[in-house]
Symmetry: C2
Subunit: 310 residues, 2 copies
């Protein structure tokens, strides 16, 4: 049976609602989507887009009413996108849906609406009081981030054996794989300590985690600039990067339009597109709409639901 | 007229000499190669490889004699590879050749031979007492490294407006392009100072360099994990990375087997393959030899010779 999945609509001044309307048929083959938006708002958007609302569409009545203003950072649209997201979470909490797929919000609009999170993942951490793990990618390659939105100069200090060991074990508990690569921190994985020494701690964490799991799940520490070359990456579907750009620059170089964002290590399942509100093309005519990330986000949610029910 | 190019043979226990012998015909269409190896050593290698020496091959008599031992780190082969390299440099210095293309050496063998450089670029810096710029890539994308072989934790400190401005101007003087991207240091280019603040210095350096050049040559600072996505990278053939893995991980993810290594900002022109001695496959039968990097290194040397004579 197809699982029910909540879809939060994101910022209605952005591209999310067009993705929803244009892909409903496809998405309905993968799951039973429940869109967190009320009928009036949906009609407004559909009229603006000149798209017919599919007949069999199922809505969750996210409250609120405002005038959609394409491509504008507005308090009202910020607030509505947050409410849609919270409704999606609550549908999962009460087990009415098995996952939530989120469409992009606008940070500035959240700020204007007094919502003090930098994004979905940040909000999820606070709501569930759990160390959510941010993972991006596609079926060919997923990359999880050990550190995320911090200055580059602060990354090395965060490499701690105990903390990393916990991260590895948390990650393993969420992923259906016994073969996970862990990246080194320094160029050439430090060349045996010549260029930094954090690899000692990384290698210790790998050993500890493998010992606890009683199998060699984690491999590494891999030389970062070699890890993404064709011969190495074909050996792994999952990699753990020590910092944001180490993982995401190669990932996006390779699989930009396919990639999605997954929040792991939470009581609920959440996946997301890996792009923003695309204000530059929202509600515009005569351009192509790339739906790969949205469709992959739904596919991955279905996959994670399957894993969890095993 | 085709330019004369010196080819240093690299570690004869490695893969370099096979690349030379198997590609001589192709290379001869691009330039007049002068291989820095004496006849006896060439015959030994050719016999071991069971390859006939091309008739019209031109050698420079690099002195030395030793027993080639495939895939072994040896003092003698380390010393010979260094001598071949130095002969190549001297041919350029005396204007007998217009560039030197280097085949890979083995660091450990250099160490055993008492040669205290970590590699060719390091040696070139010392020999010419100049800030050589390391650039890697292929025609589609070249990436120059502002910092190279240093620990990640030390990178942020090296971002200094004056030093970076000089680097940008030096780079420009070596490259035939008025459109060069400069990468930011921090994730999201710091999100306006939220994640680090080195972008202030980077942006100042960009402005200063453009002002001195009286044109907008340098663009940025680009968000690092977006810079290598298809839409952005098609806008640039040259990028400047703030640190080793920032540039090389995405570059090698995209163009691993095509890439070469170029030393800029020196009195001589030097290009190199972007791989090692490949001891795992040296002198072996029944496997494919990938010559793309070697051929591209020669092509780029020819290109740089043309630029310089303009």
């Amino acid at each position: 049976m197809q699982p029910k999945i909540a879809i939060s609509v994101g910022d209605l001044n952005g591209i999310g609602i067009e993705l929803i309307l244009k892909n409903h048929k496809k998405i309905s083959k993968l799951c039973k989507p429940v869109y967190c938006i009320n009928k009036d708002m949906l009609i407004s958007c559909a009229n603006l887009l000149n798209i017919k609302i599919p007949k069999n569409i199922k809505l969750y009545n996210t409250k609120g009413k405002f005038k959609v203003e394409p491509s504008k950072e507005k308090k009202a649209s910020g607030k509505y996108s947050y409410n849609s997201f919270i409704d999606g979470i609550n549908l999962c909490k009460s087990n009415k849906t098995k996952a939530v797929v989120t469409l992009p919000i606008n940070k500035k609009s959240w700020e204007k609406a007094g919502i003090n999170y930098v994004g979905h993942t940040d909000a999820l951490r606070d709501i569930f009081k759990k160390d959510a793990i941010m993972m991006l990618g596609c079926q060919k390659l997923f990359v999880a981030l050990y550190t995320e939105h911090i200055a580059l100069k602060d990354v090395a200090k965060q490499i701690k054996t105990k903390k990393l060991t916990k991260f590895l074990l948390d990650f393993y508990a969420n992923i259906n794989s016994d073969n996970i690569a862990v990246l080194a921190l320094n160029p050439h994985a430090s060349d045996n300590g010549v260029l930094g020494n954090e690899e000692i701690k990384i290698n210790k964490a790998i050993k500890k985690a493998n010992k606890i799991l009683k199998k060699e799940v984690f491999k590494g520490a891999l030389v970062p600039d070699i890890a993404f070359t064709p011969n190495v990456r074909k050996q792994y579907n999952y990699m753990i990067a020590m910092y944001h750009d180490q993982g995401l620059a190669p990932l996006k170089a390779l699989y930009f339009d396919k990639s999605i964002n997954v929040s792991l290590n939470l009581p609920i399942i959440r996946t997301s597109v890996d792009h923003g509100t695309a204000f530059d093309i929202a509600y515009k005519q005569n351009r192509k709409l790339n739906s790969k990330s949205y469709i992959n986000a739904v596919k991955e949610a279905v996959e994670l639901i399957k894993n969890r029910s095993k």
